[in-house]
């Protein structure tokens, strides 16, 4: 079974995003003895953001491995295990920590297949938590997916809903390539963090894949395309619901993966609406928002009846104090003003 549309699940069973992720990992561990999990606090703690809850009890310490704080070593180890045909899932607790281990990720995990002339595969998943909004400061609040997407050789998935979190995880584990699976803390449905209501949603019980590289129309509309990802999808949907009363019909495109990027769906949407707003919780310059606008401009700048706009983190580190952080994150307020801007109102 394959889910290509976010509205496809017909189940009434509701799970949080974290439970949906864990369900996919557990099902793949049942199905395939080569799948195992390693990372900091993935065992007894169950993952700081509940990405591995219950796996240790079910699969034991051989397959759910707590590691020392040695990211270069254990992510590198995952690469080596993958090269030998296993399917490791390695967790980098926060994407912000990639600084201590990026060489293994971008010079090794991502390049081995190419450098080997396609003779060596690296079928692993690197999971990592991203995002801000709870005052965790400049070293614990970044999304940074643009950086991973910029560097060739790794797929990058960015789920926004529980159903996609499960299906994308299943696809990521089964993929023969390295997949970076970036989950926003704000969509996990954690009991200790303010929740978006959509962080709990319907999730089919059976196995299914959400194809990597296929965006979803999270809300159809006719006036403006809001291309976005992860938690920002929910802010965009909230604004879209609200603006329907102002006679602005927003279409929200949930990118679901950055590599590959579903350019066709974006172009098709912009072709219909003629207006584009990109909402991205990563830094503004040299990133996802610029890339999407470039892809539209490359195809046909004439598609746009108004200059495109973007709401992203201005090029400053993410500040701690709530008022400062709110000023830089892509909040509903900033998205709303940008929609008015792109509509010329």
């Amino acid at each position: 079974m394959s889910l290509t549309d976010a509205s496809a699940p017909t189940t009434t069973r509701r799970l949080s995003t974290s439970k949906a992720m864990v369900e996919a990992v557990a099902a793949e561990m049942d199905r395939d003895q080569d799948v195992f999990v390693m990372g900091e606090d993935v065992g007894a703690y169950g993952g700081i953001f509940s990405s591995t809850t219950g796996l240790l009890d079910r699969f034991g310490p051989q397959r759910v491995v707590d590691t020392p704080i040695s990211e270069t070593a254990f992510i590198g180890a995952a690469i080596g295990a993958a090269v030998e045909g296993m399917r490791p899932i390695a967790e980098l607790m926060f994407a912000d920590f990639f600084g201590v281990c990026m060489d293994q990720i971008y010079n090794h995990m991502a390049k081995i297949h190419y450098e080997s002339g396609g003779n060596v595969r690296v079928p692993m998943v690197l999971t990592t938590a991203v995002g801000g909004g709870y005052s965790d400061g400049a070293q614990h609040s970044q999304c940074l997916w643009g950086t991973f997407a910029h560097l060739p050789g790794m797929k990058v998935v960015v789920p926004s809903s529980p159903a996609d979190a499960k299906g994308l995880m299943t696809s990521a584990i089964r993929d023969d390539n390295p997949v970076v699976y970036m989950f926003h803390k704000g969509i996990m449905g954690l009991p200790w963090m303010a929740k978006n209501p959509r962080s709990v949603g319907p999730v089919p019980e059976e196995d299914y894949e959400v194809p990597i590289g296929k965006a979803a129309i999270a809300r159809p509309g006719t006036d403006v395309t809001i291309a976005t990802l992860s938690l920002s999808v929910h802010h965009a949907l909230d604004v879209a619901d609200e603006l329907a009363d102002n006679d602005i019909d927003c279409e929200v495109v949930d990118l679901r993966s950055l590599v590959p990027l579903d350019t066709d769906t974006i172009l098709e949407s912009v072709g219909r609406t003629g207006r584009l707003l990109v909402v991205d919780e990563d830094y503004r310059s040299f990133g996802v928002s610029g890339e999407i606008i470039a892809r539209v401009a490359e195809r046909d700048p004439g598609m746009l009846s108004a200059p495109p706009m973007r709401v992203a983190v201005p090029d400053v580190p993410i500040p701690y104090a709530r008022g400062l952080e709110d000023a830089v994150l892509p909040t509903a307020d900033r998205i709303r003003s940008a929609v008015f801007g792109v509509m010329g109102r």
Binding site: E40, G43, A44, D66, P68, V100, G133, P319, A321, R322
Partner: protein, 324 residues
Amino acid sequence: MDTATRLDLYRMMVLIRTFEEAILREYHADKKPVFDIGAGAIPGEMHLSAGQEPVAAGVCAHLTSADAVTATHRPHHFAIAHGVDLHRMTAEIFGRVDGLGKGRGGHMHLFDPDVHFSCSGIIAEGYPPALGQAMAFQRRGTDSVAVAVTGEGAANQGAFHESLNLAALWQLPVVFVVEDNEWGISVPRSASTCVTSNADRAAGYGIPGLRVEDNSVEGVHRAAAEAVARARTGEGPSLLEVHTLRLWGHFEGDPQGYRHDLDGVPGRDPLPTYEQELRGDGVLDEATVKSVAAEAADRVEDAIAFARRSPAPDPKAAFDLVFA
């Protein structure tokens, strides 16, 4: 050890504990009935240092404001013991304009250049900058030293090992401090390394290594005296590991379900232990205990009141200060 030194160590430990208890109170005050990490006057992660006071008190007793300290995600005890401005540090924890970072940094990012203090939330990444501060001191012909602090979990990180090697190679005036509280979040030391003492790792880089047991503030004071003196007199770096105690959760809100050592923990609290010892030796009496506590409470509550009075930053200020 002379009475004045012992009393100073006790006073510092009490001040730190009083501060951490006040932050604990303020942090949770407006996160009830349901804990929401992003809510309240102090939002975000909060790593408190209760139980680890002996390390900071014992080491920093040998430092002046001309010496540098690089601390970790759990920085308050070292900040206080090294003389970071308590008012401005507290205001930073509250995210206010009078904070050390004008509300931009938060509790893991405290910078006080007046006393060469800094900290970082990335594990082991406070070690390398300490080398550079030590280089600057050395090249400018001062006798200042740099103290670099990490937890024992950080000793399995590359930056830790590279730093030991480089400091040894260049004979830098650095004291490496490792706070062994036995836990890296939920992962016990035994599941992180086969090395039982980081003093052994120091030997691997050709520098002296010492391990202080029992969370003893006087033990730390003695060992640090030697390490700091070596650094100051140009004899190069050393490493000091202290077997200490994380009295509370890794961060506030940590359910600690993994922690099977909690039963015995209260009895190992270094503060009542040291107080008993000093009372037994006739160094402390009831009146002094009370006055030390009152003095600490005054300072801490004054700092909290200062922080609360300080305004929240103007949101537009978020765009300033990226560059000098």
